[in-house]
Amino acid sequence: MTATTGSHPTRRLILQGAASVALLGLGNLPFAPARAAANDKYPEEAFKLKNEADAIKALYGRTAEPSEKVKLDAPEIAENGGVVPISVTTTLDKVTSISFLVAENPNALAASYRIPDGTLPAIANRLKMAKTSNVTAIVEADGKLYSATKEVKVTVGGCGG
């Protein structure tokens, strides 16, 4: 991992760009996109995207389908958008990653977690929300994407100002 840190930043950006273009192009193939989430590298591009759908695509190369097996726990109303406790659990098998997205934030992708073999598919964390928004949890299980979405009303936004 640290072996790449020495490389020239511009070159790395170009390579990353090329890689994501390639992934988008291969979006229909079943196995190529799964590597995007499975590899070790920080998904810089996905975190920069504004739109939720774009971020999911950049991260996983495919779209998610809503599933009742994904349980997203978030408050109905968050008084402080700076600290919104959000957790997810799932009964799905072979979970390899879980991501959280806040649709109305300046950048939709908030956090993405890698779940190695033996780690339970249950995560609690705290996110910032700029305003009232849908929060989506994406669960990658057995190479497929499942999601759950919930609206959280925010009375005071979490982006200061």
Binding site: D40, Y42, P43, F47, G82, V83, V84, S87, V102, N105, P106, N107, L109, A110, A111, S112, Y113, R114, I115, P116, G118, T119, L120, A122, I123, A124, N125, R126, L127, K128, M129, G158, C159, G160, G161
Partner: protein, 103 residues
């Protein structure tokens, strides 16, 4: 300086529950300070947990993770007394590491 990482790892049978709190500003780069100048983005990008030489949990974070981040997860394969190594790196090249014992 005290570590930025506070961790509680508790083994209960086969499953170890890990709760972690990290001190970090998690600045988004969108907020202005009292002089009206933008505070540059400063946030943790990767947080990793290793137990017995194996990654048990890896977090990739953006700026939307709250200040002083908290995360909780559980994994199988750890037992009382095992070392749990936690390390993070941020977008400015900052980092911290701690090794905790599973209780």
């Amino acid at each position: 300086m005290a570590s930025s990482i506070r961790v509680r790892a508790t083994a209960n049978g086969d499953i170890t529950e890990v709760q972690t709190l990290i001190q970090h500003p998690m600045d988004t780069g969108l907020v202005k300070d009292s002089k009206g100048e933008l505070i540059p983005a400063h946030y943790i990008q990767e947080l990793k947990f290793e137990c017995n030489g194996k990654d048990v949990f890896v977090a990739n974070w953006g700026t939307a993770v709250s200040k002083d981040p908290y995360v909780k997860f559980s994994f199988k394969g750890g037992k009382k007394g095992d070392d749990l190594k936690i390390s993070w790196t941020d977008n400015k090249g900052g980092s911290d590491t701690i090794t905790a014992k599973i209780a």
